[in-house]
């Protein structure tokens, strides 16, 4: 699936929740299910310091594609992270770096990305793009 298709699928999924509470319950589920990082990945380099919740992000390049793993000390944040990772993981740097991540807005979680929330999510998206840019540049260099 393309990044766009994955996003549309999530939007479809979320469309059944009319109530905030249901939506958040689902996010909590996703958060709980997110594969935990191994201890070495909880490193200072991977930490994105938010003011109210903290996020860790790690990336790995396999066969031209980037695979992300992440964690947070807040479960709902973790749920959103799970969605984000699902959307971008397994794509090429070029695909990721230019991707328009519209689904967060569409499923009504925009405010969670407010710079004002300082929950680390916005910084995480920035860092995802930075990884993509860096890997992209690297692969071009090689090529």
């Amino acid at each position: 699936m393309t990044i766009q298709e994955k996003q549309d699928e999530i939007i479809e999924e979320f469309s059944i929740y009319e109530d905030w509470m249901d939506k958040y319950s689902y996010l909590i589920e996703l958060g709980k299910e997110l594969k935990p990082l191994n201890p070495s990945q909880h490193s200072k380099e991977n930490l994105i310091e938010g003011c109210v919740s903290r996020v860790w992000l790690d990336a790995e390049m396999k066969e031209g594609k980037i695979f992300f793993s992440a964690d947070s000390d807040a479960i709902i944040t973790k749920g959103i992270i799970a969605l984000l990772i699902k959307v971008v993981s397994g794509h090429t740097p070029a695909e990721i770096k230019d991707a328009d991540l519209y689904f967060i807005d569409k499923i009504g979680l925009r405010e969670n990305l407010s710079p004002t929330r300082a929950n680390g999510l916005l910084a995480m998206i920035k860092r995802i793009r930075l990884y993509a840019l860096a890997y992209d540049a690297k692969s071009k260099q090689r090529g």
Partner: protein, 405 residues
């Protein structure tokens, strides 16, 4: 009798729904809402009277200046300050403390000197002193608190040395709600001839504050936390300090004469009010304080105490909930964590239920560090909150527990 329903009518913002739920505002520690009389005052000023103060020959300038100075008197009276020239308008608590850190610091703090601060200070009463200490090669000594969130007077006595040049204490902890015995602390400070600064940001609006009785040297608070506008605050300082301290900012309206060679300053408070002040904010603050007096300080404060007692009782029902701050004397600030549930998650869910609380370290990181936590959920009540709102909030917490288990 204190009639909360009547009082609530004065606060337009409270009559709304958030996500279709009645709005419950429990973030009063961050900022308070404004009674209609404050909004009306601001509007009236801008619609009829606005004019830059001081030195104007024209009518509106005189009117605005008189309102501005009248507000200073209202503020002085509220804090039992006889000489309103000891009331300096600033832009908030942070600005007030920075003013003292600079102006007092420049003149009186030297290499090797010590400043004592409590472990429960807000960053506003830590960082300015750190910056000063770095410039002057002075040191901060920390007056620790115990696990209930209380300071012991004996500990202070042990910290004071000949090098102690200032003691900084918050009147009320913004995280724990502790009301510190600022009068006794001031007596100890003065016995050792050390001046004292009290951070009144969370005290001015919740406990009766008689500055002449307390006898402190400096007192700082923010207008926006005492039902006034943003961008205005106050520094109270004893005349002797105002006279001896050099000005903080330079500019218009604080000078007697300027040449490129030499500048002479006006007397206090004007010496410390450089440039065009937030005069509309100042007059609005006067209106806010007058409003508070009109509904009755005693009634307001007692009611807030009742709210806190009720809320404290109720949240204890929540399984796994721990309260941070168990001092015998507290204001209506309730910090807590629920076992295994992140503060941010708790806050997010409460928000969706229409309840506004704050989460995090509340700009007092050393307090969180003391307890080895990242932060807390903080519900802070004001006199316009109700017991029903507390019930609603507690029901929300039950919901949170359900969702995360």
């Amino acid at each position: 009798m204190f009639d909360v329903q009547k009082v609530r009518e004065d606060f337009p913002i409270l009559q709304q729904e958030i996500y279709g739920k009645p709005f419950v505002y429990f973030d009063n520690g961050a900022t308070t809402q404004k009674p209609r009389v404050v909004l009306d005052t601001i509007t009236r000023l801008y619609e009829i009277e606005n004019s830059n103060i001081h030195r104007g020959v024209h009518h509106l300038s005189t009117v605005t200046t008189e309102n501005y100075e009248e507000a200073r008197k209202i503020i002085a009276r509220y804090f039992h300050v006889e000489n309103e020239k000891e009331i300096v308008y600033t832009h908030g608590t942070t600005d007030s403390i920075n003013l003292v850190a600079f102006s007092f610091g420049e003149k009186f703090i030297h290499e090797g000197d010590e400043i004592i601060l409590t472990e429960m200070e807000h960053h506003a009463n830590i960082v300015p002193w750190q910056m000063l200490c770095e410039r002057k090669k002075a040191h901060i000594k920390v007056w620790k608190m115990d696990d209930t969130g209380c300071l012991k007077l004996d500990d202070l006595v042990n910290l004071i040395t000949e090098k102690t040049k200032l003691i900084g204490v918050t009147q009320v902890s913004n995280v724990l709600g502790t009301v510190n015995p600022v009068k006794e602390i001031t007596q100890i400070a003065h016995k050792h001839e050390v001046p004292i600064l009290i951070d009144g940001a969370q005290g001015a609006q919740h406990v009766p504050t008689d500055l002449s009785g307390i006898d402190c040297d400096f007192y700082a608070f923010s207008g926006h936390k005492i039902y006034g506008p943003t961008g205005i605050g106050v520094l109270y300082a004893k005349t002797k300090w105002l006279e001896e301290m050099p000005p903080y900012q330079g500019g218009g309206d604080m000078i007697l004469s300027v040449t490129f060679d030499h500048t002479e300053y006006l007397e206090a408070p004007f010496k410390f009010e450089a440039g065009t002040t937030n005069y509309i904010g100042a007059i609005g603050l006067g209106a806010a304080i007058q409003y508070l007096r009109n509904i009755g300080l005693k009634e307001v404060f007692e009611y807030e105490d009742q709210l806190l007692a009720y809320a404290t009782e109720k949240v204890k029902e929540i399984p796994g909930l721990r309260i941070y701050g168990e001092a015998p004397r507290k204001v209506s600030i309730l910090s807590f964590l629920i076992d295994g549930i992140n503060a941010y998650d708790t806050g997010l869910i409460l928000d969706k239920l229409g309840v506004a609380v704050r989460t995090g370290h509340h700009c007092a990181q050393p307090v969180a560090d003391h307890f080895g936590i990242a932060g807390t959920v903080r519900a802070s009540f004001s006199f316009y909150n109700t017991f029903e709102e507390v019930d609603h909030f507690v029901a929300g917490l039950h919901r949170v527990v359900e969702m995360f288990q």
